[in-house]
């Protein structure tokens, strides 16, 4: 009679990495739908294309690294990267833009650092930042929410980068872009002179609300803790509110900051990426707060349309440092009234 020789615990709650990833994917659905409603089929096309690319690239790299392919694909991490990239890229992304972003995210940002769990930077953000620097024009072509392209037109653009009437007719700058390049106008003047801005603001408000909904669902499912997203939103809101109070003509309000751009997507789906953020709860608070402040600074003074990619990459860089300084006190280490060390 031979018995198994195993180390305890002999019991497990039977949770799996793949189920965490699946919940993340499911939680993006509300945002995805709202984004599609406002900006057309571009996001959906992007999503499918990015997913196929990510899985294929993951398989190829695993093959090259001589790692087992099935279990790694099954963990769903490549799909999450693909989803986040697809949601962050503009709806008017041609096929090659997504390809470059996914390639860079999966191959360079993830596997060259040792695969899932070992990457210091969020892969999706690396892919996004690379495209932002390399192809700034393509990356700023956001669809205008008032007109919707048909699926055929969208596909035509996606594949051939040709569209009837030219792309300029269908795109506009994002509200954030508009608000930064005020050309000397106050925000109120800008808003009254530019009806597009209000439209854009309401669209991105809806989208952000949808992401917030998905994020809250994940919180309820305890996929992550509240620390990082809350700290990020709070610090961004605080900075924005403070500056808005000082000069309401120059700085948009806290609500506008929180509900434009990719704020909620970043707060609940990217800042919470466990691999690249800080570990302890205190560390997560610092990490989130750092992202919030950086986002405000880059949005207000930088020259890129949105700030998340850079803010998050910068904080990824400092995550190990945060970890070092926020190591929680272990049991038995935080009492003063105990009689000395023995």
């Amino acid at each position: 009679m031979a018995f198994l020789n195993l180390s305890s615990p002999h019991h497990h709650n039977l949770s799996k990495t793949s189920s965490i990833m699946m919940w993340v994917l499911l939680a993006t659905i509300p945002g995805l739908l709202v984004q599609t409603y406002f900006y057309g089929y571009g996001t959906l096309i992007n999503l499918i294309w990015a997913s196929v690319l990510a899985v294929a690239l993951e398989a190829i790299v695993l093959r090259l690294r001589r790692r087992p392919i099935r279990p790694h694909i099954a963990d769903g991490s490549a799909l999450v990267t693909a989803f986040l990239l697809a949601l962050a890229l503009p709806p008017f992304s041609p096929w090659w833009l997504t390809l470059v972003a996914v390639l860079f995210a999966i191959v360079f940002a993830k596997h060259l650092y040792g695969g899932l769990g070992n990457n210091p930077f969020n892969p999706a953000m690396v892919g996004y930042a690379l495209c932002l620097i390399a192809f700034p024009v393509s990356m700023t072509q956001w669809a205008s929410p008032e007109i919707t392209l048909s699926l055929g037109q969208q596909l035509q653009w996606f594949w051939l980068e040709q569209i009837d009437g030219g792309i300029d007719a269908w795109t506009q700058a994002t509200p954030l872009d508009l608000m930064r390049h005020t050309k000397g106008l106050t925000l109120n003047e800008l808003s009254s002179s530019n009806p597009q801005l209000n439209l854009g603001l309401s669209a991105s408000g809806w989208i952000n609300a949808a992401y917030l909904l998905g994020g809250l669902a994940l919180l309820a499912k305890r996929v992550f803790t509240w620390h990082a997203p809350v700290a990020m939103l709070a610090s961004l809101g605080f900075c924005a509110g403070l500056f808005h109070m000082g000069e309401p003509d120059l700085y948009p309000s806290a609500t506008q900051h929180l509900f434009t751009g990719a704020t909620m997507l970043a707060a609940f789906f990217i800042v919470t990426d466990p691999v690249t953020s800080a570990t302890s709860r205190k560390g997560k608070l610092v990490f989130g707060a750092g992202v919030g402040i950086l986002v405000f600074i880059i949005r207000s003074y930088g020259s890129y349309p949105d700030a998340f990619a850079f803010a998050i990459l910068l904080m990824n860089l400092s995550a190990p440092l945060i970890d070092t300084y926020t190591q929680p006190k272990a049991y038995g280490h935080h009492q003063k009234h105990n009689q000395g060390d023995r």
């Binding site: 305890s8 002999h10 019991h11 949770s15 990495t17 899932l116 049991y331 038995g332 935080h334």
Partner: protein, 653 residues
């Protein structure tokens, strides 16, 4: 209702307690054989105080404690000491260790017990002594000698009784409280008396309503005892966690509860203490849960310490074909057994005979995604994933810096890990390595000191010698000068010295006592051994030289030849001497073979007697063979005692 606090982390595994807590405790009959490891507690192993073959009564001391942290061991039933030998220990390593084996006689006869009817009248030291002699150790699993915990240096203001039993499946304490609440209270009274009336808090999880009721009923008569019902959460039964739940205080790092004026005892231990004092019974039995889907009669059993797991499983009707994993202890912290004949010891609270799919499957683990669930679950407030990276990379210094030593190995982190990483096993490994490393560092430091002392000593000796030599030289020169001055016509001193030496030599030669034959034999034997070793070493050197194509090879070749001759000569001399003494060098060998042959003949016959049709003839044959064996042994011992004696003819069986 006493206020309770919460501790960080913790998990809620399926309890699985109903399988075993519905039936009353069953008494297991005395098994045929009992196996009692000499070390069933933390601290030094006990020392056997009985002889093999001795008859012992139930409750008789068979191994006595060695030192302060150690515990006595008593015979759990009456019978004969079969042997003291190495058996598989109830330890994750499944290594062998010394055990006393008792063949029980079924009479189960007690020694004379001296119950104390009024123990509070006894001096405290005497009371403590009673507990110490009874060999009581912590019965929750760790096995720390209880008497040690009852002699704290600080004053104890809170006595904590651990009845939480947070591990899934185990219900031994639950049943014990339900059926012996009075005895538990009696034990608590004794402990309170011993520790100068501290306030007593009994911590019990809210999933044991019957036991809570029993405790409340029993506690009514006592003042200063509070039953605290705590929420069910693993590991609330960990000593440090329970203290935090009940008092809100934390045991300081590397400290013990006594540092904050508390002492914690398991409820089973308390009952054992009551039995030891009030009934005079030493710790020889305990209540053990047998459960798991492979168990037909799951429940709690009153077993004798030293009962082999196989006997208990048979009594509880465990189908061994259904189980591939036998766990001693609970599913969270227990260890797997390899040998079914492993004995139960004082701390064995559960045997989990799980069916194949009942426990977590053996799964490959995935990469850590740093999800942080382990940190949320960790009751010691550590950073489990950091520790995991460090343990995996063997960066033990960093792991220690992240408080590896504060890990209580509860397994909550591994339980929640979505990548199924066996985190605790990594920590155990790291802890083991750190321990070994610290031990080695200690040894190295010790060796360094000894080395340095020796070096110093050698230098001192050299200096002293030099000094002496110088002193002698000057003294001699002075003496010489004086002599010369006194007697200038004396003869040459060197010639005189030579003459003296020669004379001495002559005297010693003539006066030499002839060596006894034994000494001479020994000397020759040594000489032969020395030449042999020299030859061996030179051969080795030669081989080395040849492999390196060294010039010295030729020289060495000559030396080898020379040494071969010398060795042969020495051997020849030895043999010549042996024959001269009438020694036959082969003699001893022949005798040895004869003894072995006779022995095996006896054994063979003894074996065959079982199946023989005609046992009487074989018995006759055995007697004959035994006689031959005795004769051969006699011849051999005669020969060894006096090798020169005339040999008696060896008898061939």
């Amino acid at each position: 209702m006493h206020k309770t606090w919460n501790f960080h982390g913790g998990v809620h595994p399926t309890e699985n307690k109903r399988q075993s807590n519905q039936q009353p405790i069953m008494v297991m009959p005395v098994p045929k054989q009992l196996v009692l490891p000499l070390n069933q507690h933390i601290g030094k192993a006990a020392k056997a105080v009985i002889e093999v073959g001795e008859y012992v009564l139930k409750g008789q001391l068979i191994a006595s404690a060695q030192g302060f942290v150690s515990a006595n061991i008593h015979a759990p039933s009456s019978g004969y000491i079969n042997t003291i030998e190495d058996r598989s220990l109830p330890h994750p390593s499944a290594l062998l260790g010394p055990c006393i084996i008792i063949d029980t006689d079924g009479k189960d006869q007690w020694i004379d017990l001296t119950p104390q009817s009024n123990p509070k009248q006894l001096p405290k030291l005497e009371l403590l002594d009673l507990i110490q002699t009874a060999g009581i150790t912590g019965m929750g699993g760790a096995g720390f000698p209880s008497a040690v915990k009852l002699q704290p240096k600080n004053t104890i203001h809170t006595l904590i009784i651990n009845a939480a039993e947070c591990e899934p499946y185990i219900t031994a304490d639950d049943r014990l409280i339900r059926e012996h609440a009075e005895q538990v209270m009696a034990g608590i009274e004794l402990l309170q008396h011993l520790l100068d009336q501290p306030h007593c808090l009994i911590g019990i999880e809210d999933n044991k309503p019957e036991a809570i009721m029993a405790l409340n009923d029993a506690a009514q008569q006592l003042s200063g005892v509070e039953v605290c019902v705590i929420p069910t959460k693993y590991p609330s039964g960990g000593e440090k966690q329970l203290i935090e739940i009940l008092t809100g205080q934390q045991v300081p790092h590397a400290g013990i509860p006594a540092d904050i004026g508390m002492v914690c005892h398991n409820v089973g231990t308390v009952k054992a203490i009551a039995d030891a004092v009030l009934l005079g019974q030493p710790l020889i039995q305990r209540i053990t849960t047998v459960t798991g889907k492979a168990t037909a009669n799951a429940g709690n059993y009153q077993v004798l310490i030293g009962t082999q797991v196989s006997d208990l499983l048979a009594f509880a009707k465990v189908d061994l074909n259904q189980t591939s994993r036998l766990v001693m202890g609970g599913p969270m912290m227990g260890f797997t057994l390899q040998d079914i004949h492993t004995p139960l010891i004082k701390g064995s609270n559960c045997i989990l005979a799980a069916a194949d799919l009942e426990l977590a499957p053996v799964a490959d683990h995935h990469s850590c995604i740093r999800c942080g669930l382990c940190e949320v679950a960790c009751p010691a407030e550590l950073l489990p994933q950091q520790l995991f990276w460090f343990a995996k990379a063997e960066e033990f210094e960093k792991a220690q810096h992240h408080n590896l030593s504060d890990c209580i190995e509860c397994g909550a982190c591994a339980w929640v890990c979505p990548s199924q990483i066996p985190l605790v096993q990594y920590y155990r490994y790291a802890k083991g390595r750190v321990k070994t490393r610290n031990h080695e560092a200690q040894l190295a430091e010790h060796a360094r000191l000894r080395f340095e002392t020796r070096e110093q000593r050698l230098i001192d000796e050299k200096l002293a010698k030099e000094e002496k030599r110088k002193a002698r030289a000057t003294a001699a020169a002075a003496a010489q000068a004086a002599k010369r001055a006194a007697n200038p016509t004396a003869e040459d001193p060197i010639a005189a010295a030579l003459a003296r030496v020669n004379k001495q030599k002559y005297e010693s030669q003539t006066a030499a006592v002839p060596l006894t034959p034994e000494d001479q034999y020994k000397e020759l034997k040594t000489a032969a051994a020395i030449t042999r070793t020299k030859l061996k070493k030179t051969c080795k050197a030669l081989e080395n030289a040849q492999s390196l194509d060294h010039e010295q090879a030729d020289n060495l070749q000559e030396t080898v030849a020379l040494l071969t001759v010398k060795a042969d000569q020495a051997q020849a001399k030895l043999q010549a001497y042996e024959t001269k003494l009438g020694l036959d060098p082969e003699k001893e060998k022949i005798l040895l073979v004869a003894v072995a042959k006779a022995n095996s003949a006896v054994r063979k016959l003894e074996k065959s007697i079982a199946n023989a049709e005609d046992p009487q003839t074989i018995e006759q044959q055995i007697l004959e063979a035994k006689a031959i064996h005795a004769a051969a042994t006699q011849a051999l011992s005669d020969h060894q005692a006096n090798p020169a004696a005339k040999p008696t003819p060896a008898q061939e069986p």
